[in-house]
Amino acid sequence: LIDEAMEKDQTTDNVAVSVIIPAYSCTEYIRAALESVFAQTFTNFEIILVNDGSPDTEMLEHLIAPYRDRIIYRKQENRGLAGARNTGIRAARGTYLAFLDSDDCWPPEYLAAQIKLFEKSPSLDLVYADALHFGDAPLPRKAFMQTSAPPVSFEGLLAEGGQIIPSGTVARRQVIVDAGLFDESLRRCEDYDLWLRIALRGARIAYQPSVFALRRVHSNALTANDTKMLEAEEQVLSKFEKSPELSEETRALLLGRLASVRAYLELEKGRRQLLSGDTDRARDCLGNAYAFFRRENPRPRGMSIYLVSDSKALKFLRRAKLRVLLWGLGTAPRLTVFGAKTWGDFLQALNCLRHPLRTREPKRVTVTLAVAIALLGLACMALAKFAIPPLIASAYRGESWPIFNRMIHGQSSHSLANYLVYWDHLRRTFLLLFFVVGLLIVGIVRPEFQAAFWRPTLRSPEGSSPVVPMARQRLLAIYALLAVIVGGSLLDIIRDTEHWPFSNYPMYSGVENSFSLTMFRLFGVTQDGSEISLHNDIRYLQPFDNSRLPQAFEYVAEKHQLREAVLDCFLRYEALRRAGRHNGPQLEAMRLYRVYWVLDPLARNVDHPDHKDLFVEVRQSETTGP
């Protein structure tokens, strides 16, 4: 393997960096990854994309088709990340190797910054950068590293754990080849293993502070399974346990680290045994973990970084929780298991809301959540019914706590009964909303709901063209938009209100019984003193139309500003006439009437209302102004 890779040295041409992208079930993200590489300001690179026996190869190949002339594509049987990266290394021609996971991205200046560091210090063997998380909750927008002193030695790597992520790493190809490439027997933590080996060989490692890689967080990532990551970390550290190259101090550090990882692993195993109801094994595992945590309180580093928090309070809580669990398992094992399961279900249900599609025991989770919501609802109901009204009454009299007194004491405009009625209305609305939202939440945690509505996977109707799945965030945004449009419309329809652009569409909905018509009408007085209706030609009063203007006058009449309104219409009529936009006569005056018709079946009296009341008259002389 190494020889084969060494042979490449002879054929290496001027490519500076070989970007190695292993691809496995990554169709959602691969284009973003490739585009981020093509967008690099440093351009002397080649891309080697290794399809590691991906089950969606057809789709993958379809997606990368536009890039095929610009990348080197290799396809192989599934051999894991290590195998895929090794294939990429073997095909690489560049002096430097840059690793990029198919779900991660780089900012445009990433490679340029990394190579600049190499050029600045030619003796460097490996340069790595921090990464910013993006994608699913809860880690987005946080940096990957948690320390201010990034590890650059074997001891540092041991102490700090897996702080070097492949997507932020650029290394000399020769160094990686000399270290023996990635260990293909490892399915996880293979990068940690290689960095340790490289560090152990005395390679010069540097941390790049000026640029970040972009690390995607999602539930399908290999690092998402905490237990397996811990097992892999233990496997990696065990490899170095018997290494003769370690000094005594380093070995002690390694053993300490190994003990810590094993304790976390025992903790995880114990938790699983507890949930599965195997109390004996759970007690053994948790006992082992407790024995370690009681003695030491290690900083949770390395692969277990996602597993536990760093805060002192949580460390104390963990110890206390372990002690209670062990005591419970000793005295009332079944009750402890039930309590642990219920608590776990509740936490899982909460987690489900943040990470859909992760529900493991949907029925239990649903029931627990439903019961919790029902109990909480009942408690709120009791509180709102029996505790709050006396509080309102005492606050109204100024006999409650100052904070409540200030809210209503002395506001004599409303009676106490008003406040109580208002509270009663508020209470009912709140409880209704509470139960509706609760029901929705219970529905949302159901895996069927999540699978169906969060990630619909529908087959192609034609069976030929590939179907591009929709990202969850996109679906969420679409549902939000639909909820706003449809929900807003339905709300207005049900409540019979109007909030433009939402409406209940009440046009022509009223009953008409009388064959009569009453409305405001504008008439113009021509120079010969005759009156003409200004509604006969719609151009006279533009932009108003015959439906809008009478309604507008009704509104203006309430404000007692009819004269200003008619004056405005007069001025606009004349302005439009002078601009040639209508051919109406010059007016001496404009009059606003409220007119009344008895409807004629053939509308013969349209120009002769049966009755009209003059409201306002504006004369020509008034339009010139002072």
């Binding site: 536009p66 699978a451 169906a452 509505f453 209940n504 009953v511 008409e512 809008r548």
Partner: protein, 478 residues
């Protein structure tokens, strides 16, 4: 739950190509643009769709902001600003229609559109004719409607240069159209529901419809009725009852069109007809809303059928060098413009044996270096002339076709073609460069040599190849 989820997903997210949504975008924005550009000129007596900037001249005495404007304190801007907004909006409609900067232009269309549509409604009375359009603008702005039938798509294809039209399916292209359907149904259902809620069956059985029909002739509506037939209809009580019942029935049952494909064929055209009837008898015109009904048409199927009809006829064969990035990108664009499926694309690198067999008269060294178009009649067009021939075939090419036949264009075009062709191998083209620079044959000479040359292998003249192919197709067909 499974059943609901399955039907829910089938309705909203059943995978579809981007074609239908793209065509809906072209039709919706195109028709809106034409409507707002042309109707004020063609039909100046229509009341309410005049220049929006005119509202800048109206006194604020009439200002009665709608809920949206009141909530967000949106003011009435000055005439100058309104004119600028209206102009920008129309430009955004045009850009959205052709699909240039689609994401931006559709977003601008919505943002400015909601303001412009809301503005008249803030002067005394809310009309409900334009609400559906506001939602259509919003939905299309949020969708990926520029992924097909757009200049953006052409630019992307020119960048990637893949001949195969990337026909990926996704629910992304289904939900916007369905959302517009749902909103349309809601609008009509709400109108029917309001009538029943406020008036009950009396709206149908009373004189309401007859009175509305008569009132419409007293200049009370936003536009005058197109006819005075309403007065005649109002004389017949049962007829007006029937009209009222049909209107309410249609409005209430409109949502059925969402679920039943058969009912859709009846309900949607009936909805359009009803609104046409309203314009004819009562006055209010729902023309823009009726344009929205066009989004119920499966345009991708219409286009596919048209393409199929034309595709069955004899095709123009385009020989291009698939190994050359420039040629590949050019052909990708041409394939996108080939709306009627009149062109068959043959990559001389990948389909070399097939081409040699089909066109034995063509010289291999030439079709490797020049773009060739072989007409159904068997005539060979090379270089710039091939583009001119294609302009006749591609619908969008008709726009530039007259320009290509202007005096001097042929000479200039040939020179440009030669200049580009001779340089194409400087990029990523692995094939030998054009023969032009060393003074060998130009496109015209080549065409002449083809017409003079007799076939050596098949015995049939190139001009009769079309016949040969037709014969072979018939043979295959039989």
């Amino acid at each position: 739950m499974k059943w609901i989820a399955q039907h829910w997903n089938n309705f909203w997210f059943s995978p579809a190509s981007a074609d239908n949504l793209g065509l809906c975008r072209v039709i919706f924005y195109g028709s809106m643009l034409l409507f707002y550009l042309l109707t004020p000129l063609l039909f100046p007596t229509w009341g309410w769709h005049e220049n929006f900037s005119d509202w800048g001249k109206v006194s604020l005495v009439f200002w009665q902001p709608i809920w949206l404007f009141a909530q967000f304190h949106i003011p009435r801007f000055s005439i100058e600003l309104l004119t600028a907004i209206e102009l920008t909006w129309r430009i955004s409609l045009a850009l959205s229609c052709i699909g240039l900067f689609t994401r931006l232009s559709t977003a601008v269309s919505f943002i400015l559109g909601i303001y412009l549509f809301g503005l008249p409604n803030s002067f005394g009375k809310t009309h409900h004719l334009d609400i559906l359009m506001v939602f259509c603008f919003l939905i299309l702005a949020f969708s990926r409607c520029g992924d097909a039938w757009s200049v953006d798509c052409l630019i992307r294809k020119a960048g990637h240069g893949s001949l195969a039209r990337s026909r990926t399916l996704s629910g992304e292209y289904t939900w916007p159209v369905r959302a517009i359907w749902v909103v349309t149904s809601l609008v009509l259902f709400a109108a029917g529901f309001s009538k029943l809620r406020h008036s009950g069956l009396q709206w149908i059985t009373g004189d309401t419809m007859a009175i509305f029909l008569i009132q419409a002739n007293y200049h009370v509506t936003d536009a005058e009725p197109l006819t005075s037939w309403g007065l005649n209809l109002a004389q017949y009580t049962r007829l007006s009852h029937l009209l009222a019942a049909a209107a309410v029935m249609l409005e209430i049952t409109f949502p059925i069109a969402l679920f039943s494909r058969r009912a859709r064929w009846f309900i949607v055209p009936s909805g359009a007809l009803m609104q046409l009837g309203i314009a004819a008898l009562l006055g209010p015109n729902f023309y823009q809303m009726m344009l929205c009904y066009s989004l119920w048409v499966p345009w991708d199927r219409v286009a596919a059928r048209l393409k199929k009809q034309h595709g069955n006829q004899n095709k123009y064969v385009l020989l291009f060098d698939g190994g050359c990035g420039l040629c590949d990108r050019t052909v990708a664009i041409i394939s996108s413009l080939d709306l009627l499926g009149c062109v068959e694309f043959c990559d001389v690198v990948k389909q070399r044996p097939e081409i040699e067999k089909r066109f034995p008269h063509l010289r291999q060294d030439q079709w490797l270096t020049h773009m060739h178009v072989i007409t159904p009649g068997g005539r060979v067009r090379v270089g710039f002339d091939s583009y001119r021939t294609l302009a006749r075939v591609l619908p969008l090419g008709w726009l530039v076709l007259p320009g290509l036949y202007l005096p001097g264009v042929s000479v200039a075009g040939s020179r440009i073609y030669r200049a580009v062709a001779s340089r194409r191998h400087r990029g990523a083209c692995p094939l030998p460069g054009s023969a032009f620079p060393d003074g060998s044959q130009s496109g015209k000479n080549l065409e002449a040599s083809y017409t003079q040359q007799e076939p050596t292998t098949s015995g049939a003249s190139l001009a009769s190849w079309g016949e040969t192919e037709r014969a072979s197709k018939r043979k295959i067909g039989s």
